[in-house]
């Protein structure tokens, strides 16, 4: 773990470098191999007549941007959830928030067939909020605050419920099955930049709130009584952080479907490197989350060529072992 401020700054710089490198890699590698010089030329002197330029700018660039945003959002919301619930296993995927957003998106896609991204986003927020509040309230034990195991179980059950409803809708509505299943499996490909614009203010707003929340979040990780003695308005902080979680994970699901485990893995890695201080933890999560999803998405193109593995599958296969490790530790609380 890095302890000194300069060390942590250097750490953040390296993480930023990692994001840049994986971003470049995500643009350069794929079924259609492109050289680094072509990549530079496509970005600096775009020529619509060239196939490789076309692929890089219209296919891979939006995809990489979506991966950055989604990876960062999921990682940050995972970190926030882990702090809020003091539960090492908390993450948007495991606590059912992704499933809630997913179900509401499937419902709105099934009944209001016009694929307006804006309406999908609101559906995703509503779903994320619904699932999140159900799980939060069900996970609390009387008097004892939230219990890690109970919260996780409530999340799993709520996920199962929402997923089975979504499955039912898909079976009824078979015409859209193919596209929706791939979307559900979690993928950052084929998302146009036009879908991204309406979401940018949300991501920006959430990051600003995060900046203001860092100190309060640090206090929140102390004992409940200490927190109260320090005069912290816990309710307000929790609510705000909860809203940020819902916005970030809802928007991620609307953009990229169900991508699990980023929100679980990245905060743990980041805590290992930067420690528990949210002033370092949240920026670290942003950078590492973005680069992890970029790398996973790039790798997903090469696992079973010529087909692509949905990136959600990649992250789940990476994340499940970590979950098992965390689960079999003596204590699941942070």
């Amino acid at each position: 773990m890095l302890t000194s401020t300069s060390g942590k700054l250097a750490g953040l710089a390296i993480a930023l470098l990692l994001v840049v490198m994986s971003f470049a890699g995500s643009l350069a590698f794929g079924q259609f191999a492109t050289s680094f010089s072509t990549l530079m030329r496509a970005l600096l002197a775009y020529d619509p007549a060239s196939t490789s330029h076309l692929i890089i700018v219209t296919e891979r660039l939006p995809r990489a941007i979506v991966a950055v945003l989604v990876g960062a959002s999921l990682a940050v919301s995972g970190a926030l959830m882990q702090s809020l619930t003091r539960n090492a296993l908390a993450s948007p995927g495991i606590l059912g928030i992704n499933a809630g957003a997913m179900l509401f998106v499937v419902i709105s896609a099934a009944f209001f067939t016009d694929n307006v991204p804006a309406s999908l986003i609101w559906a995703a927020f509503m779903g994320a909020a619904t699932a999140g509040s159900i799980v939060y309230f069900l996970g609390r034990e009387p008097g004892a605050g939230s219990s890690p195991l109970r919260t996780v179980l409530a999340g799993v059950a709520v996920s199962a419920l929402f997923v089975s409803f979504a499955q039912g809708l898909l079976v009824v509505n078979q015409e859209r099955f193919g596209s929706l299943v791939f979307w559900l499996a979690g993928s950052v490909s084929g998302r146009g930049l036009d879908m991204l614009w309406p979401m940018l203010p949300l991501f920006a707003g959430a990051s600003v709130i995060c900046v203001f929340l860092t100190r309060q979040l640090n206090v929140l990780s102390l004992d409940d009584e200490v927190v109260r003695a320090l005069g912290q308005r816990t309710g307000l902080v929790r609510l705000t952080a909860g809203l940020v979680v819902i916005v970030l994970s809802g928007a991620s699901v609307a953009l990229a479907g169900m991508i699990g485990f980023i929100g679980l893995i990245v905060p743990h890695i980041t805590r290992g490197v930067f420690g528990r201080d949210h002033r370092w933890l949240l920026p670290g999560c942003t950078l590492l989350g973005a680069s992890l999803l970029l790398i996973a998405d790039t790798a997903a193109r090469f696992v079973i060529p010529p087909q692509e593995v949905p990136v959600g599958v990649m992250t789940a296969l990476l994340g499940a072992p970590l979950f098992l490790y965390l689960a079999s530790r003596r204590s699941q609380s942070l």
Binding site: L89, G93, I94, I134, F137, L138, R140, E141, P142, L149, R150, V152, L153, A154, V156, A157, V158, A160, L161, S164, F165, Q167, G168, L170, V171, V172, Q174, F177, G178, V181, F182, L184, A185, G260, F261, I304, Q307, V309, P310, G312, V313, A316, L317, G319, A320, P321, F323, L324, A327, S328, Q332
Partner: protein, 346 residues
């Protein structure tokens, strides 16, 4: 409530079954409801049949179109629903008792997903047709593989029951990822087949399915019943159970074997049904406060009733489409589960 109870004993007193009058009443009521819904299910369908005709078709060997529909199409489906529901209900009850947590169930801890992943592998990559006789074998093997993995982790790490569940959840999500991978990478028709199977459907159930599942239920449900009293003892804690002379590890293993076999075989014949194993035990506990033996009977009947009703809704409610029962099981089970979780907080 009177304290009179009926006790069934074998001559050597190795097996006793004590059922209070209240439990017997609940069992009788559920039995009636089950028979009633089974009969209703036999009557309903795209070919509407009068109850008298159905009755005739059931009792007399007389051949007719209606008799053929009732005996060859509807009856196996009803029986399969009952067997699958019962198996899942009992598996859930036993698992919840074993890990001493009311939120465990075969689908939460990954046993169902193990079976599903194995079956989907066969359906997509193995290229097997829907209804291939290999599917049950593979699915049951998958269920046991997951159970064995969880047990191994638990044994190496000396895990608490809570950790055992978490390990199961982790394995379940890994299995889920594999299933998604296989579905996404296979062509659309195969994928749709596998997806339908996953939601849990009794569509096109045949006598062969009923006869395939029957031995599993006939062996492992009584096995669970015979060890039921150990579940009661385990509920008192390990120390108490050991000092009361329960061979703790052996009984746990036998009960776990029964639960996994029941859940695995049920999934093998009906697909990935969730929620029955989770909710039926709670309903049983709310209906009766009897010991585990009575609860096993009740959970079996509640599970059977749930699946039977869900199948009727899926078959009739949206005719001519035949929707997978699993969707409606979730519709019935999920609200009840949320209510139950809310109640458990107190």
């Amino acid at each position: 409530m009177s304290n009179t109870a009926i006790v069934l004993r074998t001559r050597s007193e190795r097996l006793t079954l004590r059922l209070s009058r209240h439990t017997l009443f609940v069992v009788a009521a559920l039995g009636t409801a089950l028979l009633g819904s089974a009969f209703v299910s036999l009557c309903l369908g795209s070919h509407s049949t009068s109850p008298a005709n159905v009755f005739q078709a059931l009792v007399s060997p007389h051949e007719s179109d209606i008799a053929l529909i009732v005996r060859e199409i509807r009856l196996p489906r009803v029986l399969l629903a009952i067997l699958v529901g019962a198996a899942l209900g009992v598996a859930g009850l036993v698992l919840q008792g074993l890990v001493r947590n009311p939120l465990a169930s075969p689908d939460v801890i990954g046993i169902t997903s193990g079976a599903s992943a194995a079956a989907v592998f066969l359906l997509t990559i193995g290229g097997a047709a829907q209804g291939s006789p290999l599917i049950p074998v593979v699915a049951i093997a998958g269920a046991f593989a997951v159970a064995l993995t969880i047990l191994t982790v638990a044994w190496i790490k000396h895990a608490t029951p809570g950790q055992l569940i978490l390990v199961g959840i982790g394995i379940a999500s890994a299995m889920g990822a594999l299933i998604t991978l296989m579905i996404v990478t296979s062509p659309d028709t195969t994928a749709m087949n596998a997806y339908l199977w996953l939601t849990g459907s009794l569509y096109a159930a045949q006598w062969g399915d009923v006869l395939g599942l029957l031995p599993w239920v006939a062996v492992f449900l009584p096995l669970a019943l015979s060890r039921a009293r150990h579940l009661d003892i385990m509920a008192m804690g390990d120390d108490m159970a050991t000092s009361l002379g329960s061979a703790l590890n052996l009984n746990r293993l036998v009960l776990l074997l029964a639960a996994v076999a029941l859940a695995g075989s049920a999934v093998a014949f009906a697909g990935g049904l969730s929620f029955i194993g989770l909710v039926a035990p709670h309903m049983a506990r709310n209906l009766s406060r009897s010991g585990s033996a009575g609860l096993i009977l009740i959970a079996a009947m509640v599970g059977a009733l749930m699946l039977l009703l869900a199948d009727i809704i899926g078959r009739i409610g949206f005719a001519p489409r035949d929707l997978p029962a699993g969707v409606f099981v979730a519709c019935i089970g999920a609200p009840y589960f949320v209510y139950q979780l809310h109640r458990l907080r107190r």
